[in-house]
């Protein structure tokens, strides 16, 4: 059986071509001038560039208080279902603003991942595979690898959360650290993007000029794709530093800061908009913490109250700014919550019958896929899992999900070959 390659590591070939293309005139010709392909102008933002935006509801949002309400049943809890902008589709009354945006969104109500563990559930949902079959990259790393323009100095894969990070994580797997996520803890910029206080701007210019001279001297002795990549990483660093404001949400208009709300999640949603507008390929905003083993209902009034407005504002803005049709939105978590309400008025981990919301690029707006039974205890129509969803994400942004990555000579399917995209969800 022969495999076909949707992705023949275009980036690598590009590096090589660039590299070989600039070699002419250097080999053995020590006196010739040295081409500076690395001083490329800032890239134009590509109008066709696709993005992936993940809203990660850490801990596991209850589908019954959000996308798949079951009012007036033994499992439904106290809240009502309200109509949305899609006739016939109802969601929980805890999401009144989101309800008005439903005509942009689609709901998959028939997810069964058979996984009730936080770590394993997160692994399934973000990589599209079970952890036991090897190490696979996060959706954002895959997106950064396949969607990011090669000359974009900004990181291709950014996560925004309350705290932590600043440096690359380890979710790039075989795609490498280049595509691992950068965590902007509390919305702060990535590590080391400020020149050290002890080095003046003039001194920095001079030391970089000298560095380039040392590099040029060395390149006359030997030049390889690796040495070029190292040199250009400094150029990229300088460009990133020059665009450091990209990470500064306070540069957004005051009116927008107001619209999104001054709380953390509001600021993070606005930062996500800013990053997408500036060309970052994959952004994930984490909203913590939905692990409602206790007081599910009281807590969600507050938590979803915080979520609803900035989330719907973000959709509204992405639509208004023309980003929506090239940005895939996924609202997901490790799993949903049990229909059974426990003695602490909480709901527990539940991967058996729960929901994910998608929208934007490549997604059939207004669609509702699959069904659970009357009180939400099982999937009764179109059961899917993380594998199907992962194929769907890739297809939605125009990637053939049956393609393969070339990981140092090893060909690895981009998505689980045993699963397939959810066709009726694709626009």
């Amino acid at each position: 059986m022969k495999c076909h390659y949707a992705c023949q590591s275009a980036e690598h070939q590009l590096e090589r071509r660039k590299f070989l293309g600039t070699l002419a005139g250097t080999a053995g010709m020590a006196t010739l001038g040295f081409p500076r392909l690395l001083h490329a102008a800032l890239p134009e933002l590509n109008a066709a560039q696709k993005h992936i935006l993940v809203i990660w509801l850490s801990g596991g949002l209850s589908q019954l208080e959000s996308w798949d309400p079951k009012p007036k049943t033994d499992t439904g809890g106290p809240f009502r279902a309200i109509p949305t902008s899609v006739p016939g589709t109802h969601i929980s009354e805890l999401l009144p603003y989101t309800a008005k945006q439903m005509h942009h969104l689609a709901i998959v109500r028939s997810i069964n991942t058979k996984e009730d563990d936080h770590g394993k559930g997160q692994y399934c949902m973000t990589t599209g595979r079970r952890q036991t079959t090897g190490d696979y990259p996060h959706l954002g790393a895959v997106g950064a690898k396949l969607l990011a323009p090669h000359d974009l100095p900004l990181p291709g894969h950014i996560h925004i959360a309350s705290r932590g990070g600043g440096g690359p994580a380890s979710d790039g797997a075989f795609l490498g650290p280049k595509y691992a996520s950068i965590m902007l803890g509390n919305g702060d910029p990535p590590q080391n993007t400020m020149r050290p206080a002890s080095v003046s701007e003039a001194a920095d210019r001079q030391r970089n000029a000298l560095r380039m001279q040392v590099n040029d001297h060395f390149a006359q002795r030997r030049r390889t794709a690796d040495s070029d990549a190292f040199t250009s990483s400094f150029e990229q660093a300088q460009q990133l530093m020059a665009r450091r404001e990209v990470f500064d949400v306070t540069k957004e208009p005051a009116a927008d800061l107001e619209r999104y709300g001054t709380h953390e999640f509001g600021r993070h949603c606005l930062l996500a908009r800013r990053l997408l507008e500036q060309g970052v390929s994959c952004v994930q905003v984490n909203h913590s913490n939905y692990d409602t083993h206790y007081e599910n209902f009281d807590f969600l009034i507050e938590q979803l109250g915080e979520f609803d407005r900035p989330f719907s504002t973000l959709i509204e803005d992405l639509v208004a700014r023309g980003l929506w049709q090239r940005t895939l939105l996924v609202v997901m978590a490790e799993f949903g919550r049990t229909p059974h309400i426990n003695k602490n008025f909480g709901r527990d981990h539940w991967g058996t019958a729960w929901s994910v919301v998608l929208g934007g690029c490549g997604i059939q707006a207004g669609a509702v896929i699959g069904k659970t039974n009357a009180n939400g205890t099982e999937v009764v129509d179109r059961q899917v899992d993380h594998g199907h969803l992962f194929h769907t994400y890739l297809r939605a942004v125009g990637i053939d999900s049956t393609g393969k990555f070339d990981a140092g000579g090893r060909l690895i399917p981009m998505a689980d070959p045993a699963a397939a995209p959810i066709q009726e969800l694709l626009a």
Partner: protein, 848 residues
């Protein structure tokens, strides 16, 4: 490093001794390497490497490059300036060999091997059960003791974490959660050079050598492993093993299935293992909170069989990984993709290295020494100049023709080998079927024998109870009969006594009742006796059946082993032919590229002289007194066309030359650029900025005192003890800086290392607090030392020797003179930025 011994405070006597020690070690190693009349391994290697390439062969590296390269590879860090100066100025002809031996004897060698094998075997996996520090200390100690590599791997593969001294070795298993599939993949990759992961669910879709049967043969060694958490002992976790657990699989593509898969090394024979009955399988049987210990451990078999020197795949894999460490690229590349579609660039060379590693008893130092002494290792990494290529087309063509003929001959044999292999595979499948049926029959016989035995035991127990019952009843009956007779005698003597007569009557009745019961019991015994005999017969039959089944399995397994052996031979022959064919094809392509370049170069000569001629012609036309505009235009156009052609030809030739250089790198006739490992980058930076020297200065006095306090040491031992003590103490002080480098420059956890330059690395080097802190003047660090040097020439030499391990060029000296003059107001700032420029350069980032 190593501050090499030669530099330890000039007036001290150590250098000479250490030098002698180095020489002695070298001589010992040479003696170990082989008989005197045989060429040394490094000579054999060079002969093979150079015989396979018709392309350019790069000249030897300059001393400075060699020094930096070998220090980085064997000591994991750049040398300090005094060492560099001493080496560069040393006129001795054998100084490279002496340096290699000194480095192998340096304590930093064990440290570097610790880093290399940590990264190789754990691939930056996070700490889970075994503390990383203990694992690293175990590796360090192993290389310090020059523990042979086979022993090291044996300890790792046999580890269960119980024996305290070897507990760190269990990190390989434990920090992979003892997951059988993860372990199968990594054992295949890291110890046999074969990444079989894709063969988990079916034969590999792209690589025909990677079979599902091979995956499961390897899995069978580890699938009985279980993580055992000892709740009584501080919840310590061990990697225990059960005695049961069969490996079965089914292809998700073809549905082909096998069960009772026997453990088998990649490209090896199935293990002949004892068939133990259910009750004789354990030394310690599994139970709640009890760590099971099987009598027969498959994992111990894996450890023994892999490392006993007979597994060619294992030996070649280790040799290839050591080669890749020194040469920047494996003979087999990627190191874990050994199959006939991706053969070693020179199979013969890799086979030689595998065999020699065994012959050297897996001595890392001795083996690396041979690699370091090769011309292949000592070549320059500079792109050779076309003029350096001494290619004679007359010499190339016959060799090329011979290679082509050989490739054709090989291609011709492939078909017949293929069909022979298919035939053998059919036989093998049939044998497997028989064996599998036999194994199932044995299980059935074992089960039915157990049932029969149980029934037999039950009936025997019932008979015994009945016999006991009869005896008990007889005993009472006897007493009753005696009492009845005596009572009747009394009644005869006292006939009037009614009460007595009544009592006698009761005795009689009871005796009669019991007599009847005893008779019934006897009847039961009579009934049970033949049943017991029948059961015993049935048991004998079941025993016989079991024996027959066991014998049947034995026969089937012998047949299977024979079929396996035949199949293995056929497969290996076929694969070897394929690999050989592929190797030759690639070699021919490289040689052809060299020939093509020559043609291009000849074209360049021709087009350049044409351009010259038409240029001359144009000059002539222009200089003529009378020239028509047509003549001028024609001459100008001709000059332009020929000049353009000459320039295009030259560009094409240069590109072809560069591509040829890439091909030479793969053939080890040109040294590649190797990125510094994260650890080497960290230590070289620490060395360059002066932190290592700072620590040495702070720790040396105490270390000397501690060594002087040691009893019974010869002067040589004392020198060595001091070097070791200092190395360990400096390492302890500075190792905390490594994680920052490892997390940014290392690969993602569990992945094979590949070079990636990321913006975060550049930002870390450019702006990170760590490096900028080290560069601020203070504590006699490099910045401070440089800022005090007045003379720019001295400054340049100190700077370049310290950071780049070479002297500055004239151009660089001149530039620094200007810069230093201009920086009079802030020498410290200028020195800091100079050091940074060099540290952030490609020349520093790569081992060249």
């Amino acid at each position: 490093m190593p501050r090499l011994a030669a530099r330890q405070a000039a007036p001290r006597p150590e250098p000479a001794r250490s030098f002698v020690a180095g020489l002695l070690l070298g001589l010992m190693l040479i003696a170990a390497a082989g008989r005197a009349d045989e060429p040394a391994l490094h000579e054999k290697i060079d002969a093979l490497v150079e015989s396979a390439s018709l392309g350019p062969v790069a000249p030897p590296a300059a001393d400075a490059d060699f020094l930096r390269r070998v220090c980085l590879d064997l000591a994991g860090t750049i040398p300090d300036a005094p060492t560099a100066r001493a080496f560069l100025d040393d006129p001795a002809l054998n100084k490279r060999e002496v340096l290699v031996d000194r480095l192998l004897a340096d304590p930093r060698f064990a440290r570097q091997m610790q880093f290399v094998f940590d990264a190789m075997l754990m691939e930056r996996r996070p700490q889970k059960i075994v503390p990383v520090a203990e694992w690293q200390a175990y590796l360090f100690q192993s290389f310090k003791d020059n523990k042979p590599l086979d022993q090291l791997v044996r300890e790792i593969l046999a580890a269960d974490g119980v024996e305290p001294k070897l507990r760190p070795a269990a990190r390989f298993y434990l920090d992979r959660d003892g997951d059988a599939n993860v372990l199968t993949r990594d054992i295949g990759r890291l110890f046999f050079g074969r990444d079989l992961q894709c063969a988990q669910c079916h034969d590999h879709p792209q690589i025909e050598d990677y079979l599902q049967s091979e995956y499961y043969g390897l899995l069978a060694f580890v699938n009985r492993g279980v993580l055992f958490i000892d709740t009584k002992d501080n919840t310590k976790t061990y990697y225990a093993e059960k005695a049961d657990g069969e490996v079965n699989y089914k292809s998700v593509f073809t549905g082909d299935a096998r069960d009772h898969v026997l453990p088998k090394l990649p490209q090896g024979a199935p293990v002949d293992e004892p068939l133990l009955g259910k009750d004789e399988q354990y030394v310690v049987a599994p139970a709640a909170n009890v760590r099971p210990v099987p009598k027969y451990s498959r994992r111990a078999q894996l450890a023994a069989l892999a490392t006993n020197g007979t597994s060619g795949a294992f030996n070649r894999n280790l040799a290839n990984r050591l080669w890749a460490h020194m040469m920047g690229r494996g003979l087999l590349h990627p190191s874990d993709m050994q199959h006939s579609g991706n053969p070693a660039v020179q199979a013969q060379l890799l086979a030689l290295l595998g065999d020699e590693l065994v012959r050297m008893k897996f001595d890392t130092r001795a083996f690396l020494r041979q690699l370091a002494l090769t011309r292949a290792y000592q070549r320059t990494s500079e792109t050779p100049r076309p003029a350096d290529m001494k290619l004679d087309p007359g010499a190339i063509s016959p060799t090329l023709a011979a290679w082509n003929a050989e490739a054709q001959r090989l291609a011709g044999t492939l078909d017949s080998l293929q069909s022979a292999n298919a035939q053998v595979t059919t036989e093998l499948n049939a044998s497997y079927e028989t064996f599998s049926q036999g194994a199932t029959a044995r299980e059935v016989a074992e089960k039915s024998r157990a049932e029969v035995k149980k029934a037999s035991d039950e009936i025997s127990a019932a008979l015994a109870a009945a016999i006991k019952d009869v005896a008990a009843k007889d005993d009472i009956l006897k007493a009753l009969v005696e009492a009845r007779d005596k009572a009747q005698a009394a009644v005869a003597k006292l006939p009037e006594d009614k009460q007595l007569a009544e009592a006698a009557g009761q005795f009689k009745t009871r005796a009669e009742q019991l007599g009847a019961q005893a008779a019934a019991a006897r009847q039961l015994v009579a009934e049970k006796t033949p049943q017991v005999q029948a059961a015993s017969l049935r048991l004998a039959e079941a025993d016989k059946a079991l024996q027959a089944a066991v014998a049947g399995v034995g026969v089937a397994r012998a047949a299977l082993e024979a079929a396996e052996a035949k199949s293995r031979a056929a497969v290996e022959t076929l694969r070897a032919a394929k690999a050989q064919n592929r190797e030759l094809t690639l070699r021919i392509a490289d040689a052809q590229a060299a020939l093509d370049y020559q043609t291009l170069a000849a074209t360049v000569v021709a087009s350049q002289s044409a351009a010259q001629a038409s240029g001359d012609q144009l000059a002539v036309v222009k200089s003529q007194m009378v020239t028509t505009p047509e003549q001028l235009a024609q001459a100008e156009s001709a000059a332009k066309t020929t000049a353009e052609k000459a320039s295009a030809d030259r560009a094409a030739a240069e590109q072809a030359w560069s591509a040829l250089g890439e091909r030479s790198t793969v053939r080890f006739t040109l040294t590649p650029l190797k990125p510094l490992s994260p650890e080497s980058l960290a230590w070289s930076t620490l060395q360059a900025v002066g932190l290592v020297d700072q620590q040495r200065a702070a720790l040396e006095e105490q270390a000397r005192k501690d060594v002087e306090a040691m009893a019974n040491l010869s002067p040589e031992e004392r020198t060595q003890a001091l070097a070791r003590l200092l190395e360990e103490r400096i390492d302890e002080k500075l190792r905390g800086h490594l994680p920052a480098f490892v997390s940014l420059f290392g690969q993602q956890p569990g992945q094979a290392p590949t070079f990636q330059a990321t913006v975060h690395q550049a930002l870390f080097l450019a702006n990170g607090g760590l490096l900028s802190g080290w560069l601020n003047p203070g504590g006699n660090n490099l910045t401070e030392r440089l800022s005090k040097i007045e003379q720019s020439a001295a400054l340049a030499e100190e700077l370049y020797l310290t950071v780049l391990t070479r002297r500055p060029t004239l151009e660089e000296q001149a530039q620094l003179a200007t810069l230093w003059e201009a920086a009079k107001a802030d020498r410290a700032g200028a020195a800091r930025d100079l050091v940074w420029s060099l540290l952030a350069s490609t020349e520093f980032r790569f081992n060249h």
